[in-house]
């Protein structure tokens, strides 16, 4: 069980870090620029909330299999096989949790007082300086919300992992899949232990982040 727990934690942490970095960029564009088809893009980014994980899983299997051109490209040029591997789970988790990362950060960016940004420009801050010194510090609550949602969402992910990950100990057997496997093996004791662990870890993570958020936002 320890192995599966560590794998889940590793997957959730990496997904959170990479996705937050990506979302800072995407959210900034969504919050401060307007361009044609922006609403369409926002709708597209929100799709993973509405679609069942099976749709994402199926498309990933279809696109990334060694028989498809995309899968062959990744395998031959980059040497990565995304199907039934940790890298594949990471990619799937990032897509699956994308809206949970992007939208709270976008809202936080939009919530930054317009005058603060204008003052920053008046004082001669560059665009990057404004982001680092004004926008980000004021959006820390949104960032924490995003991070906690993505982390918890990834810890509890099941359908996508089952479809694109298989059930390989140490590679793709996350804690949620481990529970599924133990139930099939009729090891209810192990299933109980793992379920309780998952419940506690998720609750703990969420509580810590919510507490931090409270401290930071309502100083």
């Amino acid at each position: 069980m320890e192995e599966a727990l560590l794998l889940s934690l590793k997957l959730a942490s990496l997904t959170t870090i990479l996705l937050i970095l990506l979302s800072l960029f995407v959210s900034y564009i969504l919050a401060y620029f307007s361009f044609p088809a922006k609403t369409f893009l926002e709708g597209f980014l929100m799709l993973p909330i509405v679609l069942p994980p099976t749709v994402l899983g199926f498309y990933m299997i279809y696109l990334l299999s060694p028989e498809s051109p995309v899968g062959r490209f990744f395998k031959e040029v980059l040497g990565i096989n995304f199907l039934f591997s940790f890298e594949g789970l990471l990619l799937a988790s990032m897509i699956y949790s994308l809206p949970f990362a992007v939208f709270p950060i976008r809202d936080a960016f939009q919530g930054v007082h317009r005058r603060h940004v204008e003052i920053a420009y008046v004082f001669g801050y560059s665009r990057l300086e404004t982001v680092l010194r004004v926008i980000l510090p004021e959006s820390i609550g949104g960032l924490l919300t995003s991070a906690s949602l993505v982390f918890a969402h990834t810890m509890g992910e099941f359908g996508v992992v089952l479809m694109v990950g298989g059930n390989i100990p140490g590679e793709t057997q996350t804690l949620s899949i481990y529970i599924y496997d133990q139930v099939q093996a009729l090891n209810y004791t192990q299933a109980h232990r793992a379920s309780l662990t998952l419940l506690s870890v998720s609750l703990l993570c969420l509580s810590v982040v919510l507490l931090l958020r409270k401290r930071w936002v309502f100083r």
Partner: protein
Amino acid sequence: MKLLSALLLLLSFSFAQSLHIAAASSLRGPLEEIGKLFSQKHPDVKLYFSYGASGNLYRQILGGAPYDLFLSASELYTNKLYEKGEAGKPVPFARGRLVIFSRNLDVRGPEVLRGADRIAMANPRYAPYGVAALEFLKKVGLYEEVRRKLLQGTNVAQAFQFVVSGGAEVGIVSLSLAVGYGKGSYWVVPEDMHSPIRHVAVITERGMNNKMAESFLRFLTSPKAGEVLKRYGFGVP
């Protein structure tokens, strides 16, 4: 990322070798014992087992899943892998048997299926025991009658779990699972009522580079492993 891969590298070196085995879920009980016996002989090898329906495991191997050895409950999949050049020569090592199993009912024959509320079986699209169960139902002429009561598990272990958890009154499952569970009542389906359930092992393309794959395969076909398989109700191939 660099630090992480360094850590992972360290982890992978802490065992001299590892062996990833994909196995039909009917094999879970005996394989755990055989794995332990194998580990006594090769304590430096870390074994990883992934259980599932043979058809699903086959699909995963085609998709590039990192298994060294594939123990299938049907020769269909191992033959296909061999023909495609994705695996070595198929080695039959056991013959599985189908049973009708129930936790509370006294199972004396196929008639028990008539009275049952729900009947669990494995999905015949990709699970060999599901295929055998379907053939059996058609052969005894009960298929049309019980069709709407069939509850399909993703693999035979899940079908068995449906019965044990009380979701289905009876299940058409593997003898190995019923023996491993040790309780309940079962009736062994005569072998002429379905095509043989041959359990066949292959070393995958990836496993060709892993010396331990060969050793495990040899151990699996040894008399010592044969004894364990026999105890779980498997016959000689």
